[in-house]
Amino acid sequence: MLNTYVVYVENKPGVLTRVASLFRRRAFNIDSLTVGRTEKPEVSRMTITVDADQDQARRIEANLYKLVNVLLVENITNQPAIVRDLAMIKVAATHEARSHVLELASVFRARVVDVAPESLTIEITGAEDKIDGLLEVLRPYGVLEMVRTGIVAMRRGKSSSTVSTATTTDQDVAEEDVSHSV
C-alpha cells in the first residue's frame, strides 16, 4: 500500500540526496517526493509517498531517523489528512473545443491560467485521483503538456507535525528522553 510520510529535515546542502539515496540503497520505491521551506528557515519539510507493507513502512521510518539531518518522521497514512497535488495541463483548444474545455475545468473547479489561440492551460489543485479524473476527460481534446508537483500533506485538526530546532549539545542529546515505536 502507499504510505505517506511527513519528514522534517535540516535545511542544509545535500540533505535531499541523503534521503533519496537511502530509498535507493534499501531498495524502496519512491512514488512521490516533494520538498520545500517551512515557517522556520533552518528546517525543510518533505512529503514522501512510498509503496511498502507494514514492516517495510516501519523500517523506512527507522532508517530515515538514522540520517543525522532528519529531525522528525511521521507516517500519516492512516490519519485524517489533507493531501494535495497541483497540476498544470496545456490542452489543445481550438475554436469549437474551447467552450467544452472551459466547462470541464469549471466542473473540476480548475482555473484557466493561460489562454492562447490554439491552447488553454488549466491549473488544478486537489487529491491525486481528482487530477487523474480531469486529465482523463481532457485527453480526447489533446493534452499538449502537463506538469505535476507531487503531493504535499498535512494532518487535519489539532494534530500538528512540529519540530523544535533548539541548539542541541551532546549533553542535551544524551539527556533527551526519546522513544519511538519501531
Binding site: 539515496s21 542529546v173 522513544s179
Partner: protein, 578 residues
C-alpha cells in the same frame, strides 16, 4: 602553551584540526600526504599527535579500524583528495558494516574549484554517502572545530560507525578565531540514546520465564557496549546457553560451561541444531546476518525472539521478532537482571550435550598425524602457546578466518579482530598494525591467507618504519582457499582462477628487514611461535599448509541452518589424498 591560552585565538583551519583532534583524545593518526591535505601536514609539527605513514590509504583506514576495535577509541585516518580519498572507500565500508568508530579526514581542492573537475578532485562525500554513518564537506576554517567535534560524537555514540570529514585546501589555509567551547555539536536530529518502555521489559521477562529451551545469540554489540559481565550474569542466573557470532567471539568466555561456540555457516553442528530446536532466542547486539541464519523461512521456526539492539532499523529487518528492546545492551540488561529468575534448565543443557554427538571424532584436532600440516593445527597450536597472555589475533577473510574462529578459543573481548560484515581481504595486516599501535603491550598476531596478504603487503614497510612488534602468520595453501572450497562443493571442482603462484614469503619478509621463516611440518609450529614471541622485532612465519583442505561443517548459502555439510567421519584425510 596551556589549554586556557589557546581557547580564543586566531588559528589556521589546519592548526584547528590538530588542536581539535588532540582535545578529542587522539594520540595517533594513520595517513598519507598529498597536495590538497598539505596545509594540514604542514601544521602537524606543532601537534603532540604521532602520525604513522602508511603505504596505501586503504591501509590507513584498516589501521584506524583495527585501532578502534582493539581499544574502543575512535581511530583516525588521513588522506589527500581524489585518489587518496577513493582509496579509503574499502576501509570505510568495512568499518560501516562492522560498526567500527573511525574518523577519516580528507583534503579537498579549493572551494572555488569544486565542481570544475580540478586535478585530484573527487566528490568524496557523494562517493561515501551510503558507506558512512555521516559525512561532512568543510569549506571554511570557522566550520572545522564544530565539524570535528560532531564527527567524533557521531562516530562513537549509539551504533558506532565511520564518519568522513572532507576539508577544502582553503579552509585549511585560512584563519579564524578558534573557540572550542563555542563549537559544541549541533545535532538536533541525532538520537543515539533510545530505551525500551516498561511494557516491553515485562513482555521480555515473561517470554524468558516461560521458556524451556532458550539460547542467547551473542553479538558484537556486547563488546561495543561493554556488557560482558552483564551477559555472563544473565546467562548464569537464568541458566541459558550462549552461542556467538563471528564478531561476538570473546564477548563470552570460550571456556565457560554455558558457551556453545560460534553459530552460522561454519559454526559447529550442535550450535546450529540448538538454535533450530530452541523455543526462545535472545539476540544480544547482533543483527541476524544471512551468514548466521541460513534460510530465513526455516530459521528457528519454533522459537519466540527477543531482540536487544541499539539500532531501531535492525528490528524486523531479517527476522521478525516478538519483543524488540531498543537501547544500549548494557543498560537494558541492567534493567532486566534484577527481575530474571533463576531457573533450572539442566534438561535442555543435557540435550544440547547429546547434540554434540560425534563432533569430537570429526574434529581435525583428533585426526591421526599424517605428516600433513593443516591450518587448524597451526591455529590450535598458536592458541595453546599464546592463550595465557594479552593476545590479539587479527585475521583476514577466508578459510583461515573460519579455522581461527573454530580453533582459537577467545576468553576476552577485543582479543579477535576480523572483518565480518564486508569480508574484506587485505584487512588483517593493516588492522593488526592499528591494534598494535593501540595496545603496544599486547602480543599481536596477524593470521592471514596467502591471497589476502598480497592485497596489502606493502604495509610491511610501515611495520618496519614504525618499529612495531607485529607477528605475522601466513596460512599459505597456494589457493584462494574459500573460493576453491565453494568451487569444490558447488562448481564441480572447476578451480577457475583460484590457484596462486606465490613469491617466497620468507624472502619477501627478509627484504623488508623482517625476521622470516617457513614452516612445513607440525613439529615446527610450536618452536616457530615461541621463537617469534621471543624475538624483539616483527616476525613473519610462512606456514605451508595442506593445499586442498576444507572448512567443515558448512551451511551452503541459502540452505537451512540445520542442513550442514559435515566433515566425513570415516575418511580422515581430505580431497587432496583421495
Amino acid at each position: 602553551m596551556t589549554r586556557q591560552s589557546v581557547t580564543r585565538q586566531s588559528m589556521t583551519g589546519a592548526s584547528i584540526l590538530w588542536e581539535c583532534l588532540e582535545r578529542e583524545g587522539v594520540q595517533h593518526v594513520f595517513g598519507y600526504p598529498g597536495g590538497a591535505i598539505l596545509p594540514a601536514y604542514d601544521a602537524l609539527k606543532g601537534s603532540k599527535i604521532h602520525h604513522i605513514l602508511v603505504r596505501h590509504e586503504q591501509g590507513a583506514t584498516h589501521m584506524a579500524d583495527g585501532y578502534a576495535r582493539a581499544s574502543g577509541q575512535v581511530g583516525v585516518a588521513v588522506a589527500t583528495s581524489g585518489p587518496g580519498a577513493t582509496n579509503m572507500v574499502t576501509g570505510i565500508a568495512t568499518a560501516m558494516l562492522d560498526s567500527s568508530p573511525i574518523v577519516c579526514i580528507t583534503g579537498q581542492v579549493g572551494s572555488k574549484l569544486i565542481g570544475s573537475d580540478a586535478f585530484q578532485e573527487t566528490d568524496i562525500t557523494g562517493v561515501t554517502l551510503p558507506i558512512t554513518k555521516h559525512n561532512y564537506l568543510v569549506t571554511h576554517a570557522s566550520e572545522v572545530a564544530r565539524t570535528i567535534r560532531e564527527a567524533f560524537y557521531v562516530a562513537r555514540s549509539g551504533r558506532p560507525g565511520p564518519v568522513l570529514v572532507d576539508i577544502t585546501k582553503d579552509a585549511q589555509q585560512s584563519t579564524c578565531e578558534f573557540d572550542w567551547e563555542a563549537a559544541k555539536p549541533q545535532l538536533p536530529g541525532y538520537r543515539p540514546d533510545l530505551s525500551p518502555d516498561r511494557k516491553e521489559y515485562e513482555q521480555a521477562l515473561e517470554l524468558i520465564h516461560n521458556s524451556k529451551r532458550p539460547v542467547i545469540l551473542a553479538g558484537h554489540g556486547i563488546i561495543i557496549s561493554g556488557a560482558m559481565n552483564e551477559v555472563r550474569e544473565f546467562a548464569e542466573r537464568a541458566g541459558i546457553p550462549v552461542a556467538l557470532t563471528l564478531l561476538g567471539l570473546g564477548a563470552f568466555p570460550a571456556s565457560h560451561p554455558l558457551n556453545l561456540g560460534m553459530m552460522g555457516m561454519h559454526g559447529e553442528a550442535w550450535v546450529n541444531h540448538t538454535i533450530q530446536e530452541a523455543d526462545l532466542l535472545l539476540a544480544f547486539g547482533m543483527r541476524f546476518d544471512d551468514r548466521v541464519t541460513g534460510n530465513l523461512k526455516t530459521y528457528a521456526s519454533n522459537a519466540k525472539k527477543i531482540h536487544i539492539e541499539i539500532d531501531p532499523a535492525e528490528i524486523n529487518k531479517n527476522v521478525k521478532v516478538d519483543v524488540p528492546l531498543v537501547g544500549d545492551l548494557r543498560e537494558v540488561l541492567h534493567e532486566l537482571l534484577p527481575h530474571v529468575e533463576s531457573i533450572d534448565r539442566s534438561e535442555w543443557l543435557d540435550s544440547i550435550d547429546r547434540l554434540k554427538g560425534d563432533a569430537a571424532v570429526r574434529d581435525i584436532q583428533n585426526l591421526p598425524d599424517s605428516g600433513h600440516l593443516y591450518a587448524a593445527h597451526v591455529i590450535n597450536d598458536l592458541w595453546r602457546e599464546t592463550r595465557d597472555g594479552d593476545t590479539v589475533v587479527v585475521t583476514d577473510v577466508g578459510q583461515h578466518q573460519m579455522w581461527e574462529a573454530q580453533y582459537y578459543k577467545h576468553e576476552k573481548p577485543r582479543s579477535l579482530i576480523t572483518s565480518g560484515g564486508l569480508g574484506t581481504m587485505g584487512f588483517a595486516l593493516p588492522a593488526g598494525i592499528g591494534a598494535k599501535v593501540a595496545r603496544p603491550e599486547a602480543d599481536v598476531w596477524v593470521v592471514v591467507g596467502d591471497g589476502g596478504f598480497q592485497m596489502t603487503l606493502c604495509e610491511l614497510a610501515t611495520i618496519v618504519q614504525e618499529k612495531l612488534k607485529v607477528n605475522i602468520a601466513i596460512i599459505n595453501n597456494g589457493f584462494l582457499g574459500m573460493v576453491r572450497q565453494w568451487q569444490e562443493f558447488f562448481y564441480e571442482r572447476n578451480y577457475a582462477a583460484t590457484p596462486l603462484l606465490n613469491p617466497d614469503f620468507a624472502k619477501l619478509g627478509e627484504a623488508y628487514g623482517i625476521r622470516s621463516m617457513t614452516v612445513t611440518e607440525r613439529s615446527q609450529v610450536v618452536p616457530s611461535v615461541q621463537s617469534a614471541r621471543q624475538h624483539d622485532g616483527p616476525v613473519l612465519i610462512n606456514f605451508r599448509v595442506e593445499q586442498e583442505d576444507t572448512v567443515y561443517p558448512m551451511v551452503a548459502a541459502g540452505a537451512s541452518l540445520h542442513e550442514m555439510i559435515r566433515r566425513p567421519s570415516k575418511i580422515v584425510e581430505t580431497a587432496a589424498d583421495e
